[in-house]
Amino acid sequence: MIAFLIKRLMHAILVMFVISVLAFAIQDNLGDPVQQMVGQSVPESEREAIRERLGLNDPFLVQYARFAKNAVQGDFGYSYFYREPALEVIARHLPATLELVFAATLIIVLFSVPIGVYSAIKPRSPVSRFFMGASIIGISIPVFLTAILLIQVFSIGVTVSLFPESTGWGAWLNGVLSTEGNMPSFGRGYDLVHVMGHWDTNLITWDGLKHLVLPAVSLASIMLPLFIRLIRAEMMEVLQSEYVKYARAKGISMRRVYFVHALKNTMLPVITVGGVQIGTMVAYTILTETVFQWPGMGLMFLDAINRADIPLIVTYLMIVGVIFVVTNTIVDLIYGFVNPTVKLTGKPA
C-alpha cells in the first residue's frame, strides 16, 4: 500500500515534469505577454527593458531551469495579469471549479446507476428505449450548446404557442411546455458561505445551489449518457454470466442477484473509466464556466490564454495534471478495495 502510494508520487512528479516542459515549450506561440501588460503606448525600448527584467530574452533552457528551481520550492512565479503568485490565483479559483465538478459527478452517479441498471434488466421496456434514445442525443450535443439551450429554457424562458389557445387542451399543453425562466445563469451568486482559506461554498445556501444547477447539469450532460450506456452494456454482459445464472439457481432473491452479484461486477470497469472521466471533466469546465461565467479555474485559464499569462497557464496545466494523478490514484485505491483479485503493490503487475 505504501509502496503503491510512493510509486504514484513518482508518477505525479514525472507527469508534472512532462507537462511543465510542454507548457513551457508552447509559450512562444501564445503571443507577447509584454504587449498584454503595458498596452500600445509604451515605447519599444521600455518593452525591451521589461522583457530583460522578466528574463524573457533568456534561452529556453535557462528560463525553464529557473522556473523548475523555483517550482520545486513551491514558487510557480507571478501571474503577469494579477500581479500575485500564480498558485495564489489558482487557489482562489479552484474551489468554484471543484464544487462544479463535484455537483456534476453527483448528478452523474445518482442518475447513471439506476437508469443504467434498469435499462439492462429491462432492455425492451419503453422507458429503457427512451433513455437509450435520449442518451444518444445527449452524447451528440456539444456541452456549450447544451448550456445555451439550458439558459434559453430555464433562465430566459420559452413561451409555447404551438397549440390553439382557444381549446382547453391546447392552452393546457402550451402552459405545460412553456417555462418561466427564473433560474440564474450567471456566476455563483452573492450568497456564498465562507468555509476556510479561499473556499467560499455554493453548496449550503438555497441561492448558491440554484446558481449551481444549470452549470452542473450542462457539465454532466456529456458524461451522464456515456455512463448510462456504459453501465447498461456492462450490466447486460454480466447478467449473461454463469455466476449470475448460478446465483439464480441458488434460489436467492432477484434483488440480491441484480444488486449484489451483478452490480458489483458491473461497477469494476465503470470505476476505472469513471476516474479518468472525472479528470476530464475538470478540463470540460473551461467550456461550461465560460458560458455560465462561473468564476472557476476554467474561465480563469481561458482568460490567461487570451492575456498570454504564461506563469498562470503553466501552473494551471500542472495543477490539472496533479488532479488527474490524484483522482486516478483514488480510483485505483477504490478499485483495489472493490475487486478482491487486485492487490495493490509497488511492483509492476
Binding site: Q240, A247, A249, K250, G251, V260, L268, P340
Partner: protein
C-alpha cells in the same frame, strides 16, 4: 408417486427465424435417492433439460408444454417466488465450469451464507457454522480458512468441491449436476466424481448427472437416458444399456469409447455430426448417420426417413428406433409361429 416426474417436456427457443424445438417428448422419473444419467453429444439438449427442470432456461428459451412435477407440485407453472423456494433448497445445481460459477467479487463465505439465508431464518453466525460443516464434508483442506477466501485464490478442483458443498447446504432432495467434471483435469475428475457419489449415497440425495462420459455414467448412475437432437432415444437401467445398447446411436457412442478400439487402430466414431435443431432430418433424426437403415434384404427401411419412431419396450429399456421395433416384431412373430 415418484419424487420427480417429467412428462412430455417441450422446450422451445423463440428465435428470429422462428421457433426451434430444443426438447420434445422428454419423459422420465426420478425416485428418492435414485441416480439418473443423461448422456448425448453436445447440442443434444442435455443441459437445456437440466436447466428447464428449475425453469432456469435463459430467454428466448421457454417451456412450451408438458409438466415437471416435484413432490406432486408442478414446477413449470409455479410462480417465480414459489420456484425460488425450490431452487437451491429442495433441488440444487452443480454447474459445469467451476472457474465461472462462483462470483469473483464475493467471498466463499458470503456465497454460502446468502444461500442459507435465502431459505432459512438463521443468523449469519449459524449459517457460517453450517457452511463450515459442509466444507468439511467435501474434504477441503483447512476449511476454516476458505470462508474468507475469494474464488481466485482456489484451484478448479477446490472450487468444484465448494460448489458441491453449496449444493449440499440445505440438504436437498435432488442435485442436478451439469457436466460437473468436464472442466477439470483428469486426475481431479475421478476424485470429484467419487466425492459426489459418496455424498449422494450418504445423504440419500437423488442425482441427475448430465455428462458425455459414459464411463462415469456407468459407475455412478442406476438409470440413464440417451438423448439425440432434443429427444430421448433410449432409456432404462444403466447396466443394461451399457452392456447391451439397442439404439444404433447408443451403440455408436459406446463403440466410440477409446477402450473399445483396437490398439494402434483409429478410434471408432459415429460418422457425420449432430444436425442443427432448426433443420432436423425427416423421420428419425438420426437416420442420416445410421448404419442400420437397410433391412436384412438390403432395401432401405422407408419408415426411418419418413416417420418419427415411437418408443418400444425392449426388456427393461425403452428404445425409439424402427430397426429395433422391427426386430422385436420379427421375434414376436417367430415365437408365435412356434
Amino acid at each position: 408417486m415418484a419424487l420427480l416426474e417429467v412428462s412430455q417436456l417441450d422446450v422451445r427457443f423463440a428465435l428470429r427465424q422462428g421457433e426451434v424445438r430444443a426438447l420434445r417428448d422428454v419423459n422420465f422419473t426420478l425416485e428418492r435417492g435414485e441416480r439418473l444419467g443423461i448422456v448425448g453429444e453436445s447440442g443434444a439438449g442435455k443441459s437445456v433439460a437440466a436447466f428447464s427442470l428449475l425453469n432456469l432456461i435463459a430467454k428466448p428459451g421457454f417451456i412450451a408444454g408438458g409438466s415437471i412435477k416435484f413432490e406432486g407440485k408442478t414446477l413449470n407453472t409455479m410462480s417465480e417466488r414459489g420456484l425460488r423456494k425450490v431452487r437451491g433448497n429442495r433441488i440444487s445445481m452443480i454447474f459445469q465450469d467451476p472457474m465461472m460459477t462462483l462470483n469473483p467479487v464475493l467471498s466463499i463465505g458470503e456465497q454460502m451464507v446468502e444461500c442459507l439465508k435465502a431459505h432459512r431464518r438463521i443468523s449469519t453466525k449459524e449459517a457460517r457454522g453450517i457452511a463450515l460443516d459442509k466444507l468439511r464434508q467435501v474434504q477441503i483442506p483447512s476449511p476454516e480458512k476458505r470462508l474468507d477466501q475469494y474464488p481466485h485464490e482456489l484451484s478448479g478442483g477446490m472450487r468444484q468441491r465448494i460448489i458441491i458443498a453449496i449444493a449440499l447446504l440445505l440438504d436437498p432432495d435432488i442435485i442436478i449436476a451439469d457436466e460437473p467434471t468436464t472442466a477439470l483435469d483428469v486426475t481431479i475428475q475421478a476424485e470429484i466424481m467419487a466425492l459426489l457419489l459418496e455424498l449422494c449415497e450418504q445423504h440419500n440425495v437423488g442425482l441427475i448427472l448430465i455428462t458425455h462420459d459414459l464411463g462415469v455414467v456407468s459407475q455412478v448412475t442406476q438409470r440413464m437416458l440417451v438423448m439425440y437432437a432434443g429427444r430421448v432415444i433410449e432409456q432404462g437401467p444403466t447396466r443394461e444399456i451399457i452392456n447391451d445398447p439397442q439404439h444404433p446411436y447408443t451403440q455408436g457412442l459406446i463403440n466410440a469409447l477409446p477402450q473399445m478400439a483396437t490398439p494402434g487402430e483409429k478410434l471408432n466414431q459415429i460418422r457425420g455430426s449432430m444436425p442443427s435443431l432448426s433443420n432436423l432430418p425427416s423421420g428419425c433424426a438420426f437416420h442420416p448417420r445410421c448404419d442400420f437403415i437397410n433391412r436384412a434384404d438390403g432395401q432401405p427401411r422407408p419408415a426411418c426417413t419418413q416417420q418419427v419412431p415411437d418408443f418400444v419396450d425392449s426388456g427393461n429399456c425403452r428404445v425409439a428406433c424402427h430397426m429395433v421395433a422391427e426386430m422385436l416384431e420379427d421375434r414376436r412373430l417367430k415365437e408365435e409361429s412356434l
